[in-house]
């Protein structure tokens, strides 16, 4: 009897791990041989290459790079490995090292430590990390000027708020998200000094319930535009906005999306009319950055040990306008501010201290 139950339980475990693995692995099958071509690979964090966010975007960049250079998916070409938990990062990176990829990306700030560790152990290999900085001579760090994009959506929010109350929902209170917050607040302040921005952090990127609760209290207190930088927590923000819109289609409430164009998330049908609560989105072009770095590395200019920041001039950041909720004059203002930032006339704050200094210059 004891044996039978042990077998049953271990079968359950085995089945579940296998299923998870089947869902994850992309396939390492195309047996490669060419050591003469340049090959690239990436390791996703737990989101996976179809997370509708930065992992997916990074994979799109790699795919494009592979296509443009006539590479095949798999060893010797371009490939990815998916991590199903934090403990997979180092293992997956090592696997790719052993498969002789010329450049290996770690996607997401969660992978910073793993990339550092593996890069130290394999000083001859080239690595890249997205969204954080790893100070190793064989690692190139890709970061984005999220504060600049956030500034621009802040301009949109500042010009379009009717109540002069705007909300910001952050995932975790970390320097990266603070960049979003500070840039956003600066953008609002620049065009509408009277507007007040309320800032809330959910404490995680997977807390849709907290996101919804925060949005509920924000909208109830008269806030009409919420910018979220909180991953899946933002689902809750969208769900609250859509429910309120459904109850009262005339109510002007908005969500500003993040990382990708979130217009599809904002669609809401009332009767036979379709509304969209997504005002705009701050899009991070991870694909552009990944592609660009691969190109540099292929040409022999791998920027090891350096940090490359992608911002507005490099097309690394974009303001999405799908849905047509932003009127022409506001778009024009966004464009003006964009030029000012590119020319360096405006320095967008990246943390709260710099924001205070920035705010002091505006009356």
């Amino acid at each position: 009897m004891k044996k039978r139950l042990g077998f049953l339980v271990s079968t359950l475990f085995a089945a579940s791990t296998m299923l998870a693995a089947c869902g994850g692995q992309g396939g390492n099958n195309a047996g490669g041989n060419g050591k003469d071509t340049f090959s690239v690979a990436m390791v996703t964090d737990v989101g996976g290459i179809d997370d509708k966010s930065f992992n997916q975007s990074a994979w799109e960049g790699l795919q494009k790079f592979g296509k443009d250079n006539g590479l095949e998916k798999g060893r010797g070409g371009y490939d990815y490995l998916q991590s199903s938990s934090d403990s997979d990062y180092a293992t997956n990176l090592n696997k790719l090292v052993r498969s002789d990829f010329d450049l290996i990306y770690g996607i997401g700030y969660l992978m910073g430590d793993a990339v550092k560790e593996v890069a130290k152990q394999n000083p001859k290999n080239h690595f890249a990390i997205v969204d954080t900085v790893v100070n190793e001579p064989n690692v190139a760090s890709i970061t984005f000027k999220e504060h600049e994009g956030s500034f621009l959506v802040g301009v949109v929010a500042g010009l379009m708020t009717k109540t002069n109350k705007i909300g910001f929902v952050g995932g975790m209170e970390i320097p990266l998200i603070e960049k979003f917050e500070s840039g956003f607040r600066a953008g609002v302040k620049a065009v509408n000094p009277k507007a007040k921005v309320e800032v809330q952090y959910a404490g995680g990127f997977d807390q849709a319930d907290k996101g919804k609760a925060i949005a509920s209290s924000m909208y109830a207190s008269g806030i009409d535009i919420i910018y979220h930088a909180s991953g899946a927590t933002g689902n809750g923000v969208f769900s609250e906005a859509k429910d309120l819109k459904k109850k009262d289609p005339n109510r002007k409430i908005w969500v500003i999306g993040v990382d990708k164009d979130q217009a599809p998330e904002g669609e809401v049908k009332v009767g036979d009319k379709t509304y969209n609560v997504t005002l705009t989105s701050m899009v991070k072009r991870v694909d552009v950055a990944v592609y660009d770095l691969a190109k540099q590395a292929k040409a022999g200019n791998f920027p090891g040990g350096k940090t490359i920041e992608y911002g507005l001039p490099e097309n690394g950041i974009r303001v999405a306008t799908t849905g047509g909720n932003v009127p022409e004059n506001v778009l024009k203002a966004v464009d003006e501010w964009k030029q000012k930032i590119i020319k360096g006339e405006v320095k967008v704050p990246t943390n709260r201290k710099e924001y205070e200094q920035f705010a002091a210059t505006i009356k």
Partner: protein, 319 residues
């Protein structure tokens, strides 16, 4: 902000936050009252959320406004069937109930993500278009003071959850079935001697917990996240478990605990605008539910006593 304004934001939030926890915690009460520990609530919620969303996406065009309700029914059925795994392992094969529950958690997440990838070719589903609408309860929402607090901007499943807590209390404490359920959980041998089929009772109880866990997950996904991905159910099942313990394995207590957890959550959000709470770091309010659960378990807040036979398989004829 006046006190009333604050209440008006806190209370509706607390209620919708609590609803999925109430369903799931009630499921836990049934299972543990019969003597089967159910760590797998998280997994059952995951399965429920998965079924709720997939059903909704598949049939929304044909079923219209009925979709979310029927999706809940589907989640209840699949949740009950899925929990059979736990019942078979822990009742028939007398496996360690905690290990089996953990296996349920792993299996549920792996299986549902695998199926999502197979069905939709991506890691998460699209957002559902037909959900439960916010509504003002007719007549009741016009009551001064209480109306806007308790009966406005609410979701119907929240009220069902609260009603179900009282139904569960009646079933467990006032019906012969409930008496047998409790007897099996407290002293299975005595119950067996009196002619109660222990295994059958436990099977039924675990399946009820699966049904309610699935319902909780589906309500969560339909109202809150609106899609299904690996992050949809992240810890809610364990919060429900905590609510059950904090509520001392009593249905109404579990409901109260779940509502209290919701209140703590929404207080932590609104707290920054209340003068008195402004200086309290939000982290204290966020951890309040867990700290209180530990205190309850440690015996500081009354005594939280589990059903005596919870966690031990019943072997006929063994003393």
């Amino acid at each position: 902000m006046s006190v009333y304004d604050v209440l008006q934001t806190i209370i509706p939030t607390a209620i919708f936050f609590a609803a999925p926890l109430i369903f799931t915690a009630l499921g836990g009460v049934f299972s543990e009252r019969s003597g089967v520990v159910n760590i797998g609530l998280e997994g059952l919620m995951t399965i429920g959320a998965f079924v709720g969303i997939v059903f909704n996406l598949t049939f929304a065009d044909r079923l219209g406004a009925w979709t979310p309700w029927l999706a809940l029914v589907a989640a209840v059925i699949v949740g009950a069937v899925f929990s059979l795994l736990h019942a078979v392992a822990s009742v028939t094969f007398r496996a360690d109930q905690v290990v089996s529950g953990v296996a349920i958690n792993f299996l549920a997440l792996g299986l549902s993500l695998f199926l999502v990838k197979k069905m939709y070719g991506k890691g998460q589903t699209d957002q559902i278009q037909v959900g439960f609408d916010k509504m003002d309860v007719p007549v009741l929402s016009d009551i001064p003071i209480i109306g806007p607090l308790l009966f406005s901007n609410a979701y119907v499943p929240s009220y069902i959850a609260i009603a179900l807590a009282f139904v569960s209390w009646y079933v467990i404490y006032k019906t012969p079935f409930g008496l047998r359920l409790r007897a099996v959980g407290e002293h299975p041998m005595a119950a067996d001697t009196m002619g109660i089929n222990v295994a059958k009772m436990r099977y039924i109880a675990v399946m009820i917990s699966g049904a309610l866990g699935g319902l909780g997950g589906a309500v969560y996904a339909t109202i809150i996240s609106r899609d299904f991905s690996h992050a949809t159910i992240s810890g809610q099942g364990f919060m429900a478990l905590a609510a059950m313990i904090f509520g001392k394995w009593h249905p109404v207590g579990a409901m109260g605990a779940a509502l209290f957890f919701g209140l703590a959550q929404s207080l932590s959000i609104v707290g920054q605008t209340i003068p008195l709470l402004k200086n309290v770091p939000t982290v204290y309010l966020l951890i309040a539910p867990y700290v209180l659960t530990i205190l309850a378990l440690a015996g500081f807040i009354g005594r939280a006593e589990a059903p005596k036979a919870a966690g031990t398989p019943y072997i006929k004829g063994k003393r």
